[in-house]
């Protein structure tokens, strides 16, 4: 309990520091918001163009796909707000030996490594995503009520999936000199998360539900909220995320053993 209280206190300080930094760069804040709006606009336009030509896409109606996009943006915004920036700096921690400082602190170094930078601008994206969910939810068949609480839980699942996946792609920095090729690969695969999983042919669909579970970010949450999932699907989701957690834990420990300060 004491440890948790200490972590929360440290996290509160991190939030305060990040808020002060972002308040200084106000134009960046506005420009960041503009980028998010355009990104959302591009994804919406893409599906608007497609639905101008077909009434349904692999069983998904237009409002259902918009609902899916709302969940995707909200879930991604949570990850981007609280974790993304830390991963951009992750390679520097290892390559420049900055991890040394974190290893000397009386808090778990991984906690510090993953929570140091917070991008509060992206909370705007979360609001936009939720706005889309509210706007298109009823048309898509989302029944609301207590299910809003379930929606919150699914957003956390989406964020956790991104965290685990991004970590699994980033941890290789302990063994490689440069990380940008793997990072770029992650963002290429990430595009699979921007479409509902039932659109994909069997092989890709299997891949994004198991080895590269990008479907857990928004596709599975949207399907769960609109149609419900089978017990097998719930078990699969828990097993895959559990495996990723175990893999990341082992790799982090192995990486630390290999870490040689600034010369890594």
């Amino acid at each position: 309990m004491n440890t948790l209280a200490k972590l929360l206190r440290v996290y509160a300080v991190q939030i305060k520091n990040n808020f002060v930094r972002e308040a200084v760069y106000r134009v960046n804040f506005l420009a960041g918001m503009a980028t998010d709006v355009v990104w959302i606009g591009v994804e919406f336009t893409l599906f608007t163009v497609i639905y101008a030509n077909v009434p349904q896409l692999a069983g998904w109606t237009k409002p259902q796909v918009y609902f899916f996009l709302g969940i995707f943006f909200a879930s991604d915004a949570l990850f981007t707000t609280f974790f993304q920036r830390n991963f951009w700096n992750f390679s520097d921690l290892v390559n420049k030996g900055e991890l040394d400082i974190l290893l000397t602190k009386p808090v778990h170094p991984l906690f510090l490594a993953l929570t140091r930078w917070i991008n509060l601008t992206n909370l705007f994206n979360l609001a936009l995503g939720l706005g889309i969910v509210v706007r298109f939810g009823p048309e898509a068949g989302f029944q609301g009520g207590w299910r809003w609480l379930v929606l919150a839980m699914w957003l956390l699942v989406g964020m956790s999936t991104q965290l685990l996946l991004r970590f699994a792609f980033s941890i290789w920095i302990f063994w490689t000199e440069r990380s940008w090729a793997i990072t770029r690969m992650y963002y290429q695969f990430f595009q699979f998360a921007t479409k509902p999983d039932t659109l994909y042919p069997k092989m890709i669909r299997y891949l994004i539900l198991t080895a590269l579970p990008f479907a857990f970010i928004s596709s599975i949450p949207a399907r769960a909220l609109l149609h419900g999932l089978s017990w097998g699907e719930y078990a699969g989701l828990a097993a895959v995320l559990g495996c990723f957690l175990a893999f990341n834990t082992v790799m982090w420990r192995l990486g630390l053993k290999r870490y040689q300060s600034a010369s890594s």
Partner: protein, 261 residues
């Protein structure tokens, strides 16, 4: 001329220094968007049972996607981001002391990997074209158009990068431009799928010259006359881009402080 060749050679060396990463990047950025396109066509035609959409059947869509692969790798580049970073961090000072045009220098150095990719794409396209009935002449013309598109793309980026003289950075503006380009260049889907009342959106930008135009010409959907007309339009866009760069950099340099914009 000498420094231009030196900049190009420098760019080639930089691109090929990390060959595995370079290959990974090319393959990843080519095949994942193509896979996404294929998924959409699969969902529309195979799962949805559509026969024809905007005058195109399933095989037409696949052909479009395959040929677009040759041009999506030529478009773009990150050298406009390099410019904004130079302005933001003050590194620009190192370059303005030298007897070279900075904007041109950064472009030439950055276009080296694109030339390499364009050569590879032409070779692959010429071989594949023999089986799919694509004429090498059309392919070459289309690649010229794609490369002019690459220059226009950089010109717009270089002009946008100058907003870093005014604000802290121009990263977000460049990201916005890239997002718009991904949709309006025809990289994500053929622009003919846009409903009639939305066609003006892509027609009023030069982005369709990057991918959609070259693909249409390669596949024989554009006549030679229409292609040359579009090539003339790309010339107009080049002039507009040149004027934009002159104006924005002229204004920006007046505000430049060597510790950043």
């Amino acid at each position: 001329m000498k420094w231009r060749i030196a900049a190009l050679v420098n760019g080639f060396k930089d691109a090929t220094a990390y060959r595995v990463e370079f290959l990974f990047e090319v393959l990843g950025s080519a095949f994942v968007p193509a896979a996404i396109q294929w998924v959409l066509w699969y969902a529309m035609f195979k799962i949805g049972g559509a026969n024809e959409i905007a005058g195109m059947g399933y095989s037409d869509m696949i052909r479009y996607t395959m040929v677009s692969l040759l041009f999506t790798q030529v478009r773009g580049g990150d050298h406009d981001f390099e410019l904004q970073e130079m302005i933001r961090s003050g590194q620009l000072s190192n370059y303005i002391l030298r007897p070279v045009g900075l904007v041109e220098f950064v472009y030439i150095r950055g276009m080296a990997p694109k030339l390499l990719i364009a050569g590879m794409a032409l070779a692959v396209g010429s071989v594949a074209g023999m089986f799919f009935g694509i004429s090498p002449g059309r392919l070459l013309g289309a690649m010229v158009m794609a490369f002019i598109g690459n220059v226009i793309h950089y010109q717009i980026g270089a002009a946008l990068a100058t907003t870093a003289f005014i604000w802290e950075e121009a990263f977000s503006f460049l990201m916005v431009k890239n997002m718009l380009v991904s949709l309006l260049s025809g990289e994500l889907l053929p622009l003919s799928l846009f409903p009639k009342n939305m066609q003006w959106i892509w027609q009023s930008t030069p982005f369709y010259l990057y991918v959609y135009g070259p693909v249409q010409y390669s596949l024989g959907h554009w006549s030679h006359a229409y292609f040359f007309q579009q090539l003339a339009w790309s010339g107009v866009w080049l002039v507009i881009g040149w004027v934009l760069i002159r104006a924005s950099w002229g204004l920006g340099m007046r505000r430049y402080l060597s510790l950043g914009g």
